[in-house]
């Protein structure tokens, strides 16, 4: 009776997972198939279910340093890597001490400041575009990657600080105390004891910040003009120009853009789940 019940549930579970996987993957598969078609083949109705003449022309166009398109695309990719990495690293450098202080210290205004950090995500990006542009101009940062790095850095902070604070709350203060009794400075104690214990949290928040920065579109669109400084999401849009829509090219570019974050995530996802479990969920 009991085992039949769980077998029934087991079938439901497998069926549900199968449907969900198809729902997740089929759009990606169609993206990939379209990217392997020629432009003519892509605008047929009914569509070619499987590309008759498989072509890699869009990929070679996008990734070849010999063509202008390829050079532009590779540059966008390099810019995206640089902006995302820089904002991630700076984000971690800023978030770790803040989270540590919110967890360990009891300075006045602690709660209020912590709340205001969390509220950052409640402000829609669109609303701040114009005033932020004026601010960046005032700081002489318009048309520099630093304007994006500075902005992106703040996107990841609320979740990073919140997650890391959860981690530090769970690390017994006695561990640091013991180290300091052995003659370590506060700084050393932090680096040798606390940092290693919270490394899953740091990795998780780093991935999270990286993905946010990698995928951001609106600020990148407004803050940068110089073609040599654009990031991938904005570069993707350049495939929609006044006169032509190159759907296979667009799908190929979407595919290439997605690969780095998907691979990164597939490799590091276990840290992400662990970090959420230990830092955010466990009370």
């Amino acid at each position: 009776m009991k085992s039949r019940g769980s077998r029934g549930w087991g079938i439901v579970r497998v069926a549900f997972l199968a449907v969900l996987t198809l729902f997740t993957l089929l759009p990606m598969v169609w993206m990939l198939l379209t990217s392997l078609k020629t432009q003519f083949a892509a605008s047929q109705y009914p569509p070619e279910w499987w590309p008759k003449n498989v072509t890699f022309e869009q990929y070679s166009l996008l990734l070849s340093p010999a063509t202008e398109t390829g050079r532009d695309f590779l540059r966008y990719m390099f810019n995206s890597v640089w902006v995302s990495l820089a904002s991630t690293v700076l984000g971690v450098i800023v978030a770790v001490p803040a989270a540590y202080a919110f967890s360990r210290f009891r300075f006045p205004g602690r709660q209020l400041l912590f709340y205001s950090v969390l509220l950052r995500n409640m402000f829609p990006a669109v609303v701040f575009l114009m005033p932020l542009f004026i601010l960046m101009r005032w700081l002489h940062l318009v048309n520099t990657e630093f304007s994006l790095i500075l902005t992106y850095l703040t996107f990841g902070l609320p979740l990073s600080i919140w997650l890391l604070k959860g981690f530090y709350d769970n690390i017994p203060a006695q561990l640091e105390q013991a180290a300091r009794m052995d003659g370590a400075t506060r700084f050393q104690a932090f680096f040798q004891i606390v940092m290693p214990l919270s490394s899953p949290g740091i990795i998780a928040t780093a991935i999270y910040s990286f993905i946010l920065a990698w995928n951001e579109y609106l600020y990148a669109l407004v803050f940068l003009n110089d073609k040599s400084k654009l990031t991938l999401p904005v570069g993707l849009q350049r495939f929609f120009t006044e006169y032509t829509t190159n759907w296979p090219g667009l799908m190929a570019a979407s595919f290439i853009t997605s690969v780095p974050v998907v691979v990164l995530f597939l490799i590091l996802q276990k840290y992400f789940v662990r970090a959420l479990t230990e830092g955010a969920v466990k009370a």
Binding site: K2, S6, R13, L17, T24, L25, P27, W30, Y45, P46, P47, I93, V94, A98, F105, R106, F107, G109, Q111, Y115, L118, L119, R120, M122, F123, P124, A125, V126, V127, F128, L129, P131, L132, L135, L150, T154, L157, D169, Q174, R180, R186, W214, Y217, L232, P233, L236, M251, S254, S258, V262, F265, L266, K270, F272, V273, L276, T277, A280, V281, A283
Partner: protein
């Protein structure tokens, strides 16, 4: 270090007066949070001030911003009394509520299905996370292509399966456009809910389940009486994070339909963008933004409560 913390807690308990004195004593502590707060203040403080200030001015497209005229709360009255605002608000509520609901339900279902060891579990979890990590710009273009009324594969499959006699008009039809966009949004973010709930499930003690199983409790009973109570906190956090991100969505609706056709997918954020950047009315768009702020902030109380529940338990 912990000595300091303990001492400060003691001081807190004894309600020693003089906030200023305490701040001075803790001055070193502020150095830790200063970089984070400084950069936030810069990137948020000035824009908030500027938005509120501009919301009291009329800035017609024919005038430079310096020549704006003060109109008091006129902008607010004009927004709140316009028919379009009602329509956009209804769209926003539908968009937010349905996106959040379906993303959460699918995410929870996936988490429950994955909360068991089996071969390929990690890979499957990774695959389900793909939509969440790819860029919204790419997602919007992929789905525009899938939905395409003339060349779209979904319409073609429906025709081939004999469901309809001609391709379905997903995005160019006021009755289906918003629903079609919600599907994309759910596709994009259900795995965020999944990963949060998965983390939550790991905190449910295995012994309780086993004990209940021995007592003859069914799968559903065990879920309801053992799993759910443990997931309350993480559910609240997840739902709030989804609500906030859905209220703030821009890229998917903007790239896919730009608020059309005939306003059927216009939500608050796209309306604000259109006012500010397509129609160049910074005054009225700022007022619109402030209205959205107020809605957000009223949610903010619950949001902060949910995120800091733990703190309350520990220090409260």
């Amino acid at each position: 270090m912990s000595g300091t913390a303990a001492a400060s807690r003691k001081r807190l308990v004894s309600r020693e007066p003089g906030v200023l004195a305490r701040m001075v004593r803790h001055r070193a502590d502020y150095l830790y949070v200063a970089p984070a707060l400084g950069v936030m203040l810069l990137v948020i403080g000035y824009p908030i001030y500027d938005t509120i200030y501009l919301s009291f001015f009329n800035t017609p497209p024919s005038l430079a911003l310096e020549d704006k005229t003060f109109v008091g709360v006129d902008n607010y009255i004009r927004i709140l009394t316009s028919d379009a605002f009602l329509e956009v608000t209804v769209n926003t509520l539908i968009w937010t509520a349905f996106s959040t609901f379906f993303a959460f339900v699918l995410g929870l279902g996936a988490a429950l299905a994955l909360d068991k060891q089996f071969v390929g579990r990690g890979l499957l979890r990774g695959i389900l996370l793909i939509p969440y990590v790819i860029s919204a710009v790419a997602a919007a273009y992929i789905w525009r292509w899938l939905y395409h009324t003339d060349f779209g594969v979904i319409g073609a499959i429906a025709v081939a399966a004999g469901l309809t006699d001609r391709p379905i008009n997903f995005l160019d039809n006021t009755e289906t456009s918003l629903g079609s966009l919600i599907v994309v949004n759910v596709w994009k973010e259900f795995s965020f809910a999944m990963i949060m709930m998965l983390a939550g499930l790991q905190t449910v003690p295995e012994q309780l389940h086993r004990a209940a199983q021995v007592d003859g409790a069914g799968v559903f009973q065990r879920f309801w009486h053992i799993t759910m109570p443990h997931l309350k906190g993480v559910t609240l956090v997840t739902v709030l994070l989804l609500l906030v991100s859905n209220l703030n969505s821009f890229t998917i609706p903007w790239i896919m339909t730009a608020g059309g056709p005939a306003g059927s997918t216009d939500i608050w954020i796209t309306a604000i963008y259109q006012l500010a950047f397509e129609r160049i009315r910074f005054g009225i768009s700022s007022a619109y933004s402030v209205i959205v702020f107020i809605v957000m902030m009223s949610m903010g109380y619950f949001y902060v409560r949910a995120l800091t529940r733990r703190d309350g338990a520990r220090y409260g």
